[in-house]
Symmetry: C2
């Protein structure tokens, strides 16, 4: 797969000089040192990413990648597989959670359809990029061909390019695909070398019997593909989904372009972990929005050394947790840029 | 103190019918049940408070109560006492954290000065309500007279009345006063019957020696006032601050008027706990925004059976943590009101 060589292109450098200037500014603001907690860290991280003392997050670009999963045939989801296509139509009509949240934060939203079991008509706001009628069933075969994987990664890269070209300050990737917690959990098990029972949860709403069945399917899949899982790209090809591969491509491409990313929940975090296996410095450009109750998420976040901002029990995907966290980033930037300094306000500094 | 009898007036009733309608609506929205986590609970709570199926949080009223504390003479803060007055000027000029955040969320902000050691000139946006040059030193005398306490509570009530009259959907109370974590901790120790060492932290930035000293001052104060601490109002009079008493009055008055409150951090939560001792059903109207690292906060929240939305290490006061959490409430309302239903979107419901 030599045409995936772009994945190892160099990643944008953080500007440590801007971080230093921002730190100096922060220490002059009219508040006790550290009193804004993690909002202070965010301002410094964004300063280093944007290369300026006072960062801002005005323009936000959200891409939701959607695709079907062959493994849905194994009854691993609480919803029928047709829901993927139905939700793509819902995105197009503006009725899904991410539509509401994108409007709330004034973000640009686009949807990319990477392939569903039922063919969809042309839909407003949806880019048609079908690579097939969903992936193959990963419990019995590799999920994708090498060509499909290569294309999915490029479809992700293209979204990052559109975001960069639009002048976005922040990228959010979302995902939708019935069965994709199964694919994400398979990938996480392979990358973390952990058994499915440690990571598997209810997804969109399985009961305990359903979870036990899902664990069995995952064990079967991991055993079947074991010889191919040592190489990250081969692992992604055997166990991934089109939308997960697209997220991997988009995260790496954002990092190469120096565009900060706000990672959503469990499935997005698995894509982020895969991205850092393929391009370790991609990690520098990733901020983490929220912790999902899906049990695998905590382990994936730990492997990424990531501490998300929110822990609200959200488990929807679509980029929704990231969108909910955006105002925290904006508050951090506003406080950093607009608070008075001790000198400006004529305020006595701390007793020494 | 018979003229504090208004504190036991009846509290607004929650509309359980609206909560039921909201719950029904929520179950029809295009997402797996429960997938929006705590945002779903918020929408239901606000529906019950506002008495409508689809609540909204457009108009927000913030009052920051500021006052000095006699106990600051005992070197319990990392900042000189003059900072209280200097910060009131900073609020007036728009340079403090809460000013920036109020602009960010489009909230109305007012500041009430209940008394500082240095007299202040008339300041724009600051209501002059001085009850004295700060409280007396609670380590050697009752912090307030009965008359001062009564007036501070009414000053709080008046702020709630202004908020209600303005048509606010949500009230946020903030506080500023050098030394007020000492007063708040004394109150919390008395209400929870716990020793100061269990609750005392760095406040705005004490080192370990400073914390040990603060614990000693608190032990002395609790011992001195012990005979008076059984009655909540007397406890508040002996150990409170003017701004803390005003917060107590404002929370109770908001609950009586049926105006939802978003409680800020440690000091505000202590005021909330005191409010529930005086008027238990006030608790129904309180939402909790964030968890501060100040060690007493966890214990006070537990006593209130409160689970705040954010845990970002913020410890500034001024209402800042609550202001940062406002977009989460707005996201909850927007999702609840604007998402499509399964029927509208023609989406297959969960497999049964």
């Amino acid at each position: 797969m030599s045409d995936t060589s772009w994945l190892s292109n160099s990643v944008g450098r953080l500007c440590e000089q801007s971080r230093g200037q921002a730190r100096l500014r922060q220490s002059s603001l009219t508040k006790p040192a550290g009193a804004l907690g993690r909002l202070e860290d965010i301002a410094l991280d964004l300063a280093a990413m944007q290369g300026r003392e006072c960062p801002s997050i005005n323009e936000i670009f959200i891409t939701v990648f959607a695709a079907d999963h062959g493994v849905a045939a194994q009854a691993v989801s609480a919803f029928p597989q047709a829901v993927t296509g139905e939700m793509i139509k819902n995105f197009s009509r503006g009725g899904a959670a991410i539509n509401v949240l994108a409007r709330e934060i004034g973000a640009h939203l686009e949807v990319v359809n990477l392939g569903t079991i039922f063919e969809l008509p042309s839909l407003e706001g949806v880019l048609a990029r079908a690579l097939g009628a969903g992936t193959f069933d990963l419990s019995i075969a590799p999920a994708m061909s090498a060509d499909q994987l290569r294309k999915a990664l490029v479809i992700g890269r293209d979204a990052a390019s559109r975001a960069t070209a639009s002048g976005a300050h922040l990228f959010i990737g979302g995902e939708m695909g019935i069965g994709n917690t199964t694919s994400a959990t398979a990938l996480a098990c392979a990358l973390l070398n952990l058994p499915p029972a440690d990571l598997t949860g209810p997804g969109t709403g399985l009961d305990s019997e359903g979870i036990a069945h899902k664990i069995g399917i995952l064990q079967q899949a991991l055993q079947r593909h074991e010889p191919s899982l040592g190489d990250p790209l081969e692992c992604l090809r055997h166990l991934g989904g089109f939308e997960i591969a697209a997220l991997v491509g988009t995260y790496i491409s954002c990092a190469q372009s120096g565009l900060p990313v706000l990672v959503d929940g469990y499935i997005s975090s698995v894509a982020a972990l895969m991205a850092t296996k393929l391009s370790p410095k991609t990690r520098n450009w990733l901020l983490f929005s929220h912790r999902s109750p899906e049990p695998g998420h905590a382990l994936v976040l730990e492997a990424l050394q990531a501490r998300p901002l929110l822990d609200l029990g959200m488990r929807l995907g679509e980029g929704s947790g990231a969108a909910v966290a955006v105002p925290l980033l904006r508050a951090a930037c506003a406080l950093h840029a607009d608070m008075a300094s001790f000198a400006e306000a004529g305020i006595s500094e701390k007793l020494s």
